[in-house]
Symmetry: C2
Subunit: 287 residues, 2 copies
Amino acid sequence: MRDLSQHLELLSLNTATVRKQAPLDRIIEAAVARGIRLIDPWRDQVQAIGLDKIARQLRDAGVRLSGYCRGGFYTALDAQGRAAALDDNRRAIDEAKALGSPCLVLVVGSLPGALSGKPQSINIALARSQVRDGIAASLDYARSVGMPLAIEPLHPMQAADRACVNTLEQALDLCGELDPGRTGVLGVALDAYHVWWDPKLATQIERAGAERLLAYHICDWLLPTRDLLNDRGMPGDGVIELRKLRGLVEATGFQGAVEIEIFSDAWWSRPMDEVLQVCISRFKSVA
Amino acid sequence: MRDLSQHLELLSLNTATVRKQAPLDRIIEAAVARGIRLIDPWRDQVQAIGLDKIARQLRDAGVRLSGYCRGGFYTALDAQGRAAALDDNRRAIDEAKALGSPCLVLVVGSLPGALSGKPQSINIALARSQVRDGIAASLDYARSVGMPLAIEPLHPMQAADRACVNTLEQALDLCGELDPGRTGVLGVALDAYHVWWDPKLATQIERAGAERLLAYHICDWLLPTRDLLNDRGMPGDGVIELRKLRGLVEATGFQGAVEIEIFSDAWWSRPMDEVLQVCISRFKSVA
């Protein structure tokens, strides 16, 4: 296993971690000041500043991306809605390309309307089939421009509203179906928070192999967890065996970054510099 | 599929659904007054009145059990703690027997101390191995007195604190290992709330078959869900395809009760009689 305490260059900051504290340009400045050279920004954060401006800032600062968040949300009640989703995913792929990202992370979506609390359908099998078709369509374009897509299985507690792909096995089944040749254009974003509980995790990580593991995200599962979305913990504050999990990931030959992504009302309420400092310290000691 | 609107005798009331409104003896009276003839009581509710008293009340009223909640919580840091858990499970089996229950439901436990927010270990593989050993030990006694054990896979969001068995597949793997002959002494309690999201649900229900399906519980998944434990919905108020799910369950030949079990601060704050009335109405119209 790699000794992270000596390799800060392997830390990536998912910029949602400090999204409430500052706009993206200032987050990048603060990350650089702390020695962080990898980030994974969100589309809305990029758009708020402007794609060209962020691309230039990244180049000038020597900061690269470990991923780009996010494409997906493929499901819709009507064909028009699904076509609009495909268009939007094409734009996300173009942005990822412009920023030099190694992949576009996909949060695939689920029951149409569920995110706003008003599901228009409760047919999850239908959602899953629309997601399959959506990824297949995006994949043609992704392949043509050389931008790998990373399906992120989300925790089952987000199965209704955010993603109907909920286990690594399910994500890998999709990869196997849509990219049987393991060409590198389709894989998974493995987030410890979403998958740590899975009794089949070790065997499925081995099945994925390094070619399918396009991103590795961490945070921690708190006890108690008070919110289904925004109560994630700083690595080391919860019950996920992060070191063991990274061992499984690296045993495949994975050489990528370890990305810290924390959605947390508690951490969003603390000064950005303090949060970055704790991220670096936990990256070195517990990740 | 059975037409539930004509078969109120197939409705079972899990008495946790109205646990905040009244003690068990009054819950039984209220259920009988509404025509409900099946219940699944919790051990603490029985103990608060007394086992003999409840057994007599049930006999006199012609009320039977569809299950008894609950055994389990097998994990502990030391051998003494695990032995105490086995003793407690033996007592639970005896109580289930005294009440004439068709099975004892097992919430198997997970990281020791996690339920009180102070995990003493985060080794979930170890917890899973202790759970396996614990069920194996309970099974010997359960077999000797003829009381089937129903492993309840719990939603992955409760993997740290309540149960490290989190999918139907995992529960059935345990059943296969510990009772390969499918003797009827080991099976699962399938709760829609815990398993509805699972992409392998249909194939695993078929794999279970009627011999392994010892109980079928329902409620609903609300959008948004505001609490990981006590924000379950009344059937029909959420996104679980209950009719489709029951179709899968009954396709195995399952002839058992449909048990309503709702942990909900919202429903606990309403009058017991209103809750029972709504349960009956939803049982007939959406279950």
